[in-house]
């Protein structure tokens, strides 16, 4: 079986001292950054892209992937101890995790999050390993039409199945698309939306966009409100889970892993919705419904498992089709391209060593995460006592440096500033940032595939419905667009059972 030999060679690479070191460093840095209030995985990766410039692609990618799941776990720590989730995926952890911490059960809350993350993360890597080669084989039958529709579907899902206002999610998506258009038309070389500014012809760098949107508003807000020092909950009592905790966590782990993986694979949804849906599911089937919102361990175990399984799931379309399903995987796609690699079916053929090394390093990273995080949780909490002014002025200085290092010009720093202002206004008005990042990465891919499809068909739109796969995708897209109206009809009949309140 070539999968096993691939995996074996991947492990050989991932367990080499250097790769192992980068996985450990990545998990550590990721957790540290994830613990810092208000800084989530996207900011963590965007901030650290400059660090990976000079590295070997394998090491750079292992480092950044490790930062990704490290920061996911870091976010759960702050969600539990100060009720400040680093990103959307750990929002639900902030409900029951924080309540458990308030009742002196911070230890078990963190432990179940770590164990759940480990189990689900590992299960998801197995899923990724089994599913990716299948998708690679299927990919041969996908034409430009299907690629275009899949990406369109990712955008639609990201804008429609959002946890907030749909209209605002669409605003964000359009912003990302608009920024993606700026620059030279990839096919004709015509300058578009550059308004005569020469530097805009190169387009706006994705990393600058991500840093500006995610780091600047957060930092400026915290500095302006002079964030009062947060007092984290003390981790008192036993760190470990009791037998009862284990018994109650088992089910949520399993359900969360499966649910999270499936949702992660679907385009455009990503781990955040996985965590949310897992919470709703656990609450609905629980025997202790009344405990939810008051420190139910299931409310931590399920969502944490789901969001980490979602991370593995989101890697499936990225690695096998080259389609990012979420903002974070969009960022990873950017990193691949920065190294001159195009993820997708061809990468499996041309550079299988790299792909399998990344997959193997995810196993390693999950193990490192579990081994490091529980014993070190006390140290991570200390990070919360870094004074806000120092932390966030440092973040500002660091993003400016990152923007400079991307093109060594004043222009890129000014771009950062302008986009930072836009990001700030988005945060103020409740516009989600993630769809914008996804849209920016998808814009050129969407346009290229649409053009290719139409050129093959001679401009005939029928090409999108006369192939079975694309016809199905068109119908799914239509369904997603119609879903808000349908669900409104349904909810009008019956009050939603879904209500999460603090």
């Amino acid at each position: 079986m070539d999968m096993f030999s691939g995996l074996a060679s991947g492990f050989a690479l991932a367990l080499s001292p250097q790769a192992l070191m980068f996985a450990c460093i990545g998990v550590m840095i990721g957790t540290i950054i994830g613990v810092l209030p208000g800084i989530g995985p996207i900011t963590a990766i965007a901030l650290l892209i400059p660090l990976s410039f000079g590295m070997e692609p394998v090491h750079g990618l292992i480092l950044l992937s490790a930062i990704y799941y490290g920061s996911m776990y870091g976010g759960s720590i702050t969600a539990t101890l100060i009720r400040t989730p680093g990103e959307v995926a750990s929002v639900v952890t902030a409900i029951d995790g924080y309540e458990m911490a308030r009742r002196g059960r911070a230890g078990p809350a963190l432990a179940t999050a770590a164990v759940g993350s480990f189990i689900a993360g590992t299960a998801a890597v197995v899923g990724l390993m089994l599913l990716s080669p299948v998708l690679v084989k299927v990919a041969v039958f996908l034409g430009a039409q299907e690629y275009f529709l899949l990406m369109l579907l990712a955008l639609m899902m990201a804008s429609t199945l959002t946890t907030g206002s749909r209209l605002k999610a669409w605003t964000a998506t359009l912003l990302g698309l608009a920024v993606g258009v700026i620059g030279l038309d990839p096919q004709t070389g015509t300058p578009r939306e550059t308004f005569g500014i020469l530097q805009l012809q190169d387009g706006i760098d994705f990393a600058i966009f991500a840093m500006a949107l995610f780091a600047i508003p957060e930092a400026v807000n915290n500095l302006a409100h002079r964030g009062k020092a947060v007092k984290p909950m003390k981790v008192q009592g036993g760190l470990w889970m009791s037998r009862e905790d284990w018994r109650r966590s088992r089910g949520p782990y399993a359900r969360g892993s499966v649910l999270g993986f499936i949702i992660g694979v679907l385009p455009g949804i990503g781990p955040s919705l996985a965590a949310f849906m897992s919470y709703v599911l656990e609450k609905r089937i629980s025997k202790h419904k009344d405990e939810f919102g008051k420190g139910a361990i299931e409310g931590v175990a399920g969502p944490e498992a789901a969001n980490n399984a979602g991370v593995g799931g989101a890697m499936v379309p990225l690695l096998s089709l080259g389609i990012p399903g979420s903002a974070t995987t969009a960022l990873l796609l950017f990193v691949f391209m920065m190294y001159g690699l195009q993820p997708g079916p061809l990468l499996f053929q041309s550079n299988p060593g790299l792909v399998w090394a990344i997959i193997a390093s995810m196993y390693v990273g999950n193990a490192v995460l579990l081994a490091l995080n529980l014993p070190l949780v006390g140290i991570f909490i200390k990070l919360l006592s870094i004074p806000t002014p120092l932390l966030f002025s440092g973040v500002l200085a660091f993003v400016v440096l990152g923007a400079y290092a991307l093109s060594f010009s004043l222009f890129s720093m000014l771009t950062l500033l302008v986009l930072g202002l836009i990001g700030f206004l988005m945060e103020e008005t409740g516009v989600p940032l993630a769809p914008a990042v996804l849209a920016l990465v998808l814009e050129p891919l969407l346009e290229t595939n649409l053009r290719r499809a139409l050129q093959i068909s001679g401009g005939d739109l029928v090409t999108f419905v006369d192939r079975p796969v694309s016809l199905v995708l068109v119908l799914v897209c239509a369904g997603v667009m119609a879903s808000p109206f349908i669900s409104r009809l349904v909810t009008r009949r019956q009050r939603p059972a879904v209500s999460v309140s603090v």
Partner: protein, 181 residues
């Protein structure tokens, strides 16, 4: 989120989106397609579509924002109640500092912070990394926390020097030497 605001946030957001959308439409119309080659989908189509869509979304935002008694945030967004990043602390602050004076103070801090960031970016290359970063961090931290000047200057100096050395020596990324070069 506040009902007593002069302009509802959705309306303001819709206005800005609409303006940007219009600029984009104008920009799209000034694109001159290259007539020499056969193109199914010219360079104009994508920007024009996006611009028009933005204008449509902006209209929807304004309409929704003006609808009396509409609480759009609450209707579709259960997790928003917890908020992600700063939202929790923001809301706590809003409760703490309900008076208009402190809200003005926050606005002033926002403006000063963005101003300092702008100045930092402008002097980054001429003054060099170490000098400009030290000055930026010192001024910004001291503005936010005036009583701890010593700690702030130590932090600013250490940050500037360590990052400079890590990037220029360790990662081989050249940073502007400026005054010290």
């Amino acid at each position: 989120m506040n009902d007593n605001q002069p302009i509802p946030r959705d309306v303001a957001l819709g206005g800005v989106t609409g303006l940007l959308g219009l600029i984009f439409v104008v920009g799209a119309l000034t694109i001159t397609p290259d007539p020499s080659a056969f193109k199914v989908l010219g360079p104009r189509v994508a920007p024009l579509t996006i611009g028009v869509a933005a204008v449509l979304v902006s209209i929807a935002l304004v309409v929704r924002g003006l609808r009396p008694g509409s609480r759009p945030e609450a209707e579709a967004a259960p997790p928003d109640e917890i908020g992600t990043n700063a939202a929790t602390s923001d809301e706590a602050d809003d409760v703490d500092e309900a008076s208009a004076g402190s809200s003005w103070r926050t606005h002033r801090r926002l403006i000063v912070t963005f101003g300092l960031l702008t100045v930092y970016i402008l002097v980054f290359i001429p003054l060099g990394y170490v000098v400009s970063t030290f000055a930026f961090l010192l001024v910004l931290t001291t503005y936010t926390e005036p009583r701890k000047v010593l700690r702030n200057s130590l932090f600013a100096a250490a940050f500037a020097v360590v990052v400079y050395l890590v990037f220029t020596r360790g990662l081989q990324v050249q940073l502007p030497p400026g005054l010290l070069g």
